[in-house]
């Protein structure tokens, strides 16, 4: 196994171009499990922890651009106020040890259907920035996941950053698991109320071959709010509309039966999570209005 250790972003891209088969490693919380348990032995590993550019974040117009090497612990500490949904999801990742090392970039790279950062990124319509020696491109996170543990990055590309709007309204994240820490999601759900863009964002984890949005549910609820003028005059949302929202979220999932739960359980749980998330977020919006 070859070990590559670039110390700058241009050097990292040059190395990746020369070794397209190289497995990128940041916090190691996924990659090292594969290597330790001998599930996968990459021909080469490229360590990105010396590339300072990847650990930086800042504003870019209306967006935040967050380097792929920013850890969950830093998302919680430094960006919790601007990205409450992603921070909530980050708090459910592993343990303090894992959150100190694991990165959102690594989560994207692994592209697990159960990745905790994915539902909030979907709900927030985030962009993923990929780069190679030939240049960089940005694509919606919904187009980034192309199959179970498969993403749209080309062999010569590395994940540079993700770009995301700071929250303009309440956000929620909920995850079902057998204990309150160190669990992979049985299913998860993220919600973003975006009063600025008059938009409802959703993200579903661990209940389809990839993380997915619930587009019908988003359109339905945005329509309910628009029709009754509730963004401007936030009063109670009809319980039947919230129940319908939950049903539409459950309908957007394509779950399977596996060791962590059945498809039927996941569908049911998602409708409950969606209902509760909306209720909590809407209460917060009413209070802040």
């Amino acid at each position: 196994m070859e070990f590559l250790q670039p110390t700058s972003w241009p050097e990292a891209l040059t190395m990746k171009a020369a070794h397209p088969e190289a497995m990128p490693i940041a916090g190691g919380t996924d990659v090292m499990v594969e290597v330790n348990l001998d599930r996968h032995r990459p021909a080469a590993i490229i360590d990105l922890t010396r590339v300072a550019e990847l650990t930086e974040w800042g504003g870019e117009g209306d967006l935040l651009r967050i380097g792929s090497g920013v850890t969950y612990a830093r998302i919680i500490d430094e960006l919790g106020d601007r990205l409450p949904g992603l921070a909530m999801a980050s708090r459910t990742v592993g343990s303090p040890q894992i959150r100190n090392r694991g990165t959102v970039g690594g989560n994207l790279g692994s592209a697990s259907p159960a990745g905790d950062a994915h539902p909030p990124l979907l709900a927030m319509d985030a962009l993923v920035e990929l780069a190679s020696v030939h240049g960089s491109r940005r694509l919606p996170v919904s187009e980034f996941f192309i199959g179970p543990k498969r993403n749209a990055a080309r062999p010569e590309e590395l994940i540079a950053a993700f770009l995301i709007h700071p929250a303009s309204g309440p956000q929620q994240f909920s995850k079902v698991g057998t204990r309150n820490a160190m669990v992979i999601a049985v299913c998860s759900f993220a919600l973003a109320l975006d009063p600025k863009r008059r938009r409802i964002g959703t993200g579903i984890g661990s209940a389809a071959p990839t993380p997915v949005t619930a587009a019908d549910a988003e359109r339905f609820m945005a329509g309910v709010l628009e029709e009754a003028g509730l963004w401007e005059r936030p009063s109670e949302v009809d319980a039947s509309a919230i129940a319908r929202f939950g049903e539409l979220v459950a309908a957007a999932a394509r779950p399977i039966d596996d060791v962590r739960g059945t498809a039927a359980y996941r569908r049911h749980a998602l409708s409950v999570l969606a209902r509760r998330s909306f209720t909590w977020a809407w209460l917060e919006y009413q209070r802040s209005a």
Partner: protein
């Protein structure tokens, strides 16, 4: 490959390290520091918890080469010669040690908690130690030990 790092304040060199080797393996098998325990090798149990440049991490999830040039503190580095660190002493006195396998990781994780939160609540302790698993299930006494250590370190 060769890895040069500082472990518990001392410069160390490990030779013939395989590129896929974890920091945990380097510490235990190359540098003769068996305090950090090898149990799950997937970051689930916390028994290999160490400091890497001052950050609490699972040594099994750090690639050896990632630790090159870095500063590592293991459980062996917490005591002062033969005198135990107050966290270690508290674990002994509170009966927080049964088989002892999880103890080094819990000691390091507790050390990290108390330097950030000098008087943690039960909930804060549970949250901070959620990634350290005790298969003897002696959690009640472990929480007692954390409070005991916090009281003594606060008084000092």
């Amino acid at each position: 490959m060769r890895i040069t790092c500082t472990v518990n304040g001392r410069p160390q060199v490990a030779d013939s390290v395989w590129a896929g080797e974890s920091l945990l393996y380097v510490l235990r098998e190359r540098l003769g520091l068996p305090g950090s325990k090898n149990a799950c090798e997937q970051g689930e149990c916390g028994s290999c918890s160490v400091y890497l440049d001052g950050t609490l991490v699972c040594a099994c999830l750090v690639l050896g080469g990632q630790a090159d040039g870095r500063e590592i503190v293991t459980v062996e580095g917490l005591s002062n010669g033969d005198s135990l660190h107050p966290v270690q002493q508290a674990f002994v006195e509170a009966g927080a040690v049964q088989c002892g396998f999880c103890t080094p990781g819990l000691v390091v994780a507790t050390h990290d908690l108390l330097r950030r939160v000098p008087r943690p609540s039960d909930a804060q302790i549970r949250e901070a130690l959620a990634g350290n698993i005790c298969r003897c299930t002696g959690y009640a006494k472990i929480i007692d030990a954390v409070h005991l250590a916090a009281g003594r370190m606060g008084a000092a």
